[in-house]
Symmetry: C2
Subunit: 217 residues, 2 copies
DNA sequence: GTCTATACTCCGATAGAC
DNA sequence: GTCTATCGGAGTATAGAC
C-alpha cells in the first residue's frame, strides 16, 4: 500500500509493459518451437532445444508453459487461427460460391505450404498422447462451417445441384487434402502453383458441377 | 573340415533350419515393431519396446538389425511390397482401364486402412533423418508405373482423352491420397467403404472423363 | 545368439537460491 | 523470472562373458 507514490498511471504502465513483455516472450517461444519442428519434425520438438535457441535454461520455460503439451496446444491453436485467417482473406477475393471457395482454399494451401510443420500438427495428429483442447480446436471447427456455407451459396447460385448439400463438403476436403498431401510428401520445397499437384486444384474444383449437376434452367 | 561326418544332407538341413528360424525371428520383430507404431505412433517405435514384447534384451535385436534405421527400412520395404500386392490383386478383378484402376485402388485403400501405421511411414515420411534405401523404395516406384499403365489403357479404350497421358496419373494420386488422408485423420476406425470419405472414391474416379473427355466417336 | 554391464546422450519436470 | 542442481527416466549402441 505504502510502497510507491509514483501514481496510478505509472503503475499501470509498468504492469502493461510487463504483460506485453511476457506476451512477446511467449510468442517468441512459439516461433522458435515452430523452427525446431520444421528442422527436426513435429515430434522432434523439445523444450531443451527451444531454451537453447532462446538463450535461456530449460526450467525458465516453465514460467511460460506448464508442460510441453501446453506448447503443442498453443501451437495448434495459433496454426488453426492463421489457417482460418488465410481462408477468410482468400474467400473475400472471390465471388460468392465456387469462385470464392477456390480462391479461399488456394490461399489456405499457400499458408499450408509455407507452414508445413504446423500443418502436419493440425491435419495429421502425429504427436502421440496429444489431443488439442476444445479452445485450441475451435478455429478448426469454424473452417468446416465456412466451407459448408460456400457450398450452400454455390447451390443457391445454381452452380451445384441440391444433392451437393450432403456430400460436396467432404469432396472439397478430399480434394484440398489430397493436393496438399501429395505436394508436401513429394515436392515440399515448392510454393503453391508450382509443380505437379497444386496447379491441378482449380481443375479439380471445376469438376464439382459434373458430380452435382444443377437443374437445367 | 573334419568336424562332423553327418553328411551333406543333414548339414544342409541344419543350415536351412537355422536360416528359417532366423527369418522367422526377423519377421516377428517387424510384426512387433508394427504393433508398437500402431500404439505409439510411427515415431514411437523403439527397439527397447520391441525387445520387451519379444521377451528378450535390447542388445539381442542388434543380431538381426544393425540399427533402428534398418528396422524402419525393412518396414518401409515390406509395407510397399504389401501395398503393391494389394493393388495388383485388386486390378486383376476389374476390366482393363478405369474399372481395373478403381478396383485396384480400392483394394490398396483397404490395405492402407488396415495398416495405418505402415501407411504413414510409406506416404507421409514422419521420421526425421530416415530416407528409405533404393531397394526399399523399388516397390513404390512400381506402383506409380502400374497406375500410369492403367491410364494408358483407359485412353486406348477411349475412356479418356489423350491429354490424360500427362496429368491424369497425378490426379488419381491426389484423389486416393485425399480420401485416405481424410479417412485416417477423421475416421481411423472405419473400414474402406464405411463413413463419409471412402464411399466417395468411385464417384471421384468417374469424374476423370469429365476432366479429360475422350474424342466423340 | 543370448545375456549382463555399461557408456553415452538426451529429455521432462521439480526444488530452491537469488 | 532467472539460475543451478537434481531426480528419474528413456533411448541407442557397444563390449565381452557364456
Amino acid at each position: 500500500m505504502a510502497e510507491s507514490n509514483a501514481g496510478d498511471e505509472t503503475g499501470r504502465l509498468r504492469l502493461d509493459r510487463r504483460a506485453r513483455r511476457r506476451q512477446e516472450t511467449t510468442e517468441e517461444i512459439l516461433d522458435l518451437a515452430t523452427e525446431v519442428m520444421t528442422e527436426h519434425g513435429v515430434n522432434g520438438l523439445t523444450l531443451a532445444e527451444v531454451a537453447r535457441r532462446l538463450g535461456v535454461q530449460t526450467p525458465s520455460l516453465y514460467k511460460y508453459f506448464p508442460s510441453i503439451g501446453a506448447v503443442y496446444d498453443a501451437l495448434f491453436e495459433r496454426a488453426a487461427q492463421q489457417n482460418l485467417d488465410a481462408l477468410r482473406e482468400g474467400m473475400a477475393r472471390g465471388e460468392p460460391g465456387l469462385d470464392s471457395l477456390t480462391t479461399g482454399l488456394e490461399a489456405s494451401g499457400r499458408w499450408v505450404l509455407k507452414n508445413q510443420a504446423l500443418a502436419q500438427l493440425l491435419f495429421w495428429r502425429p504427436v502421440p498422447n496429444f489431443e488439442p483442447s476444445p479452445a485450441a480446436f475451435a478455429p478448426s471447427k469454424e473452417i468446416a462451417g465456412i466451407q459448408q456455407q460456400a457450398i450452400v451459396e454455390a447451390v443457391t447460385a445454381g452452380q451445384l445441384g441440391p444433392d451437393a448439400f450432403e456430400e460436396a463438403g467432404y469432396m472439397v476436403a478430399i480434394l484440398i487434402k489430397g493436393v496438399l498431401t501429395q505436394a508436401m510428401a513429394n515436392e515440399p520445397h515448392l510454393d503453391w502453383g508450382k509443380g505437379r499437384y497444386t496447379p491441378l486444384f482449380p481443375k479439380l474444383l471445376k469438376l464439382l458441377p459434373a458430380a452435382y449437376p444443377p437443374a437445367r434452367t
